[in-house]
Symmetry: D2
Subunit: 356 residues, 4 copies
């Protein structure tokens, strides 16, 4: 019943604090005889790792992953894969500022009330640093998906909105995603986003963002009614990411502006195969994949750690204020892109292993 684990068959457990010795995860349920080495995982970690552009935190972490078990002579053995990343930058900061204060918008107050103790260094367990291990697990999940389904199956994530600035979907080009600091598929909006972030930073503030994740090449049949629906598991998985406040599938909340006639995805035959004339349902019908592209979006709230002073209380229940100095992401949504991809990948891998 571990609440630090997710997945029923492809199951991973993460551990570690932001400024502890290390972070890690144990992945169980990986089939045997899949070729796997650190190099299959590292590129995804590199996408998420801090300090890569001026639009993300300047914390320096190599995030070098090491496989400690479950792989023998380059192949998975069917036994748990233990991954570890040693924290290299964990001693560089003085936390006396936040030791006794609850940063508003963070888990500080709730953890302290729930546990009566908290590792305040960088948020301890509640830090988004934990998501590095999700990305690592996601890389392993991709290997499973590609082996069980096909190499055509693909998981992609992109930032589609920062603040009130939304991409033009007509400009979507997958190639753009890796060519800017924002994982943005619409190159025409990139400079606008740079300005937005710069302005937010100058203002001592931060911005929210919306991320879209897609899985293509997924066959019909993944997902289990009634309570382990593919989309409800995706919703849960994405909602566990730090700072996420909403999740939607297909046209999501916008379906309220459709009606029964416009919203159903009609079916016809094409080249001897059933196809759909639209994808308002985001590739999931009755909780089960329909063979269409799976599409989900989630919103990440503006970073709560900002330099502008905000009112709060301390552990003595005295009123005070806090200004979070240091190396914070002006828009945590950016680095949430590889994390969202990873959570979609692990959820699909889990259902893959139930299906095949």
């Amino acid at each position: 019943m571990s609440s630090n684990s997710i997945g029923k068959i492809f199951n991973f457990t993460t551990w570690g604090e932001s400024h502890g010795k290390a972070i890690g995860c144990v992945i169980d349920g990986v089939p045997s005889n899949i070729r796997l080495q650190e190099n299959d995982i590292q590129p995804f970690l590199d996408k998420r790792k801090p300090g890569q552009s001026k639009y993300t935190t300047q914390r320096k972490e190599d995030d070098k992953v090491e496989i400690l078990s479950g792989v023998f002579e380059g192949l998975t053995t069917g036994h748990p894969i233990s991954l570890i990343i040693y924290n290299s930058d964990q001693r560089s900061k003085d936390y006396s500022d936040i030791k006794d204060k609850f940063r508003p918008g963070h888990a500080d107050y709730t953890y302290w009330k729930k546990y009566g103790i908290r590792d305040y260094r960088g948020g301890g367990r509640s830090s988004a640093r934990e998501t590095a291990m999700r990305v690592a697990a996601g890389a392993v999940a991709r290997k499973i998906i590609n082996q069980k389904i096909s190499n055509e199956a693909k998981i992609t994530g992109a930032l589609v909105q920062i603040g009130n600035s939304k991409i033009n979907y007509n400009n979507w080009n997958d190639k753009n995603i890796s060519e800017n600091e924002f994982f943005c598929p619409d190159e025409k909006i990139v400079s606008e986003w740079k300005n937005l972030i710069d302005n937010a930073r100058k203002d001592g503030s931060s911005l929210g963002a919306i991320i879209e994740v897609r899985a293509s090449g997924i066959p019909v049949g993944l997902g289990e009614p009634i309570y382990d629906k593919l989309d409800s598991d995706i919703a849960k998985a994405l909602m566990t990411i730090n700072a996420v406040k909403g999740v939607e599938i297909g046209n999501g909340f916008d379906c309220v502006y459709e009606n029964g006639k416009t919203n159903v995805d009609e079916m016809i035959m094409k080249d001897g195969k059933p196809i759909f004339l639209s994808n308002n349902n985001g590739g999931v019908l009755g909780g089960i994949s329909s063979g269409q592209k799976i599409i989900a979006r989630f919103v990440v709230k503006p970073t709560s750690s900002i330099i502008s002073e905000r009112r709060t209380i301390d552990t003595d229940l005295k009123e005070t204020s806090i200004s979070t100095k240091g190396r914070h992401d002006p828009c945590v949504g950016i680095r949430a892109v590889p994390v969202g991809e990873a959570m979609l990948a692990t959820t699909i891998a889990d259902h893959c292993l139930r299906f095949f």
Copy 2:
């Protein structure tokens, strides 16, 4: 690992098909010595049951619930509570129309591909009829919440938008909710909604809706990091409801229009107690309840069963079309209100039992 079960400590399993002999659920994890009888459950079922107004389906079901186990001399024993509702209206319909056709927007195609067999009568297991048992489980969950927390703790749901017509939150009045056919808290908008539904029906179409559910009186500390967060469990629970395509917590997707300064919920002391100056986070911080009102919203797509003809294919993979006659809800979102309340209640009860 039953995919027909949900909850870790307060756990319930549902069974039964829309037009089978009966539907039922087994609730495990209920503490002993809670006073419970059918009358504690029936009123909630009555709110959800079909045939109550001209704005919902005309199917006639008494939905009389019977407790078969787990209660002795009016008190729970700590053992599984088995509930059953016999289907009374299950033989009245001829299903030859849909027997071999996949209703677009439904689970027909995906179930058929996944299982190679489907109980086509009224959707079988994929029918929203299953949600009656969620409402029953929700009634039991409320008893637990009230016993473990206090009688002040309260779960309320309301419809806040139909099609493009949204309530005015300033007009919200809890009392209104039970006084109209829509569970609408804003009495001023009710007549507009009547027109909307009438028009949709005349047009052979249907409408989507947004439901808001709230839990008040919940203490700080419910929820478990990292993967069993209170809000990720709520998201999953709501997303399992038929036709739901999106879920959000607090200000949800709208947080993208805020910034770090406006979005954090600042804290002050009042009458010796910590309070928050806003509730953008919807009562959850770091996945743990903060003591504020818990607020979630979910969107229900327009009913897929409509009388207007739509293109589809059949089990022989031939193109055809379908027009769903009969007694369907023009807006399934209406009857989703008590279901949403129930799923919020069962999720909170589950975390209650982990906490206390």
Copy 3:
């Protein structure tokens, strides 16, 4: 986390009290398109049901099982199978004797302390009546095993010892098992057992028994290291049966009288296939089936409900004594045979579904 459920993929949940309205179970994880009807289940229930010979309890129960869901036109649909048996004989007894007294050797005292309430009628939930539903689930499990592996796969149980009287394994004949009141494979010992039981009854006492269960035709590879080993899951499953105090696999406790040279099961090739020269390990190596016959034994303690007076206390913590009159099995081990078979079958079905 329901403690009234067992199995990860083939998962069933039982509910109901000895003298409540009904008992039932919900089986999840059953693949679709398996032919199933009440008649596939009833014969196994008939083997277990009370009142069949003078060597078991005289309680009269038809134990007629009814399938309420999950089967459509004679085939499983992949959805939960709900089974129910209405209690017919539940009102015939006066329980004033045991209402306030704790029957020694029973769960009365521990349930009362744990729950603060107990359904004392016939033991309520702790009654062996619950095992009827295990037998029903076992019948469904057999269908899965036969479909997934082959019709040759077979689960058999037999009584091998009553009191100090043990069968001669050389006389073992599967055919005998169904031809006497004891499920005894050695016809030569049957009359001795009759005398033993008669004497125990005359003496106001009862006897213990050892049951052996076997599964043949099981391929190599079922079972999961490290904590879901096939044999540890079998041990757990058998140990959950009422009154069981020990479980062993293969030569079990007798292996302590072997040594490394005599105990290892050597392997050779025969007709191009690996075979073992012995089966001390009972068909399981490292927690995984080896392709040999799976063999387990469990011991059932002498029935605690006896007519001879025994010292005990009551709910007021006063000393008293109790003599359990009525219709009790002089050796509950006899009716435990079909239950043991069922638990072996459900455990193997569960691992089957993980394997295939």
Copy 4:
């Protein structure tokens, strides 16, 4: 559903191979604010570690445990505790002998068939080396038990039989256990056991053993009917230990030689408290702890790795023979004592956390 995890609330997951880089475990469910450091765990590992006497394997492992997470300033935080032991002696051996041969009595054949790959170095994942992490988890479990129940609660294990030589229970003295190489509570039998082991070794053979584990100071009420009974969970936990072939509770298999009159544990009042006149049920009634001492026994088969040549086959399905040279325990039952204690402790801790 990880099969490398055990426990529902106190849950731990182990990882690592005998000759990989490291072994480790992640413990979840540990309450916050328990004082914990490496020194609380190390003494238990030292009891199990190899190379301590001439009666156990001569493999040299320091088995130094390191806490990587979940502890802050000496106190548990409520978050996962990650423990690691680096393998120091893992490169010293040449495995060419067993690389292609299946050691009879081991998991070699079944793992190879199940996974199509195996880490043959020292048995890889199937090695008893994995049990070091159980001992570590057991040490943490003891801290929980002592905090939740009382410091009086105590878990003890002892060897009660080697080969056909059984202790005299009248000579049982807890103090003896730590004063000989066998964890033997009867000092009078120690020299006989030394001879037995010496002879077995000279004979190129090995011996089986029976271990008894006890928990005292456990209150009434731990354990959950029907399928998570305390004794069925203990049975499972002990059965997962390498080479265990049987488990019993209380008088176990010997109950078959009792009758209803002699076997029930009668109750009386003493000093205002209910007490039992015997403990044939081993401290568990109806699956729930009765307040008496919890007593379980398990049998460990004779070590399968022996120097005497035995017939087997290889990965090419050719007949061959094998003689396992090297540093093996002549009686693995000895080092199973701390492992058995640990599994009893973790099972009780798990039920403790459900109860309190």
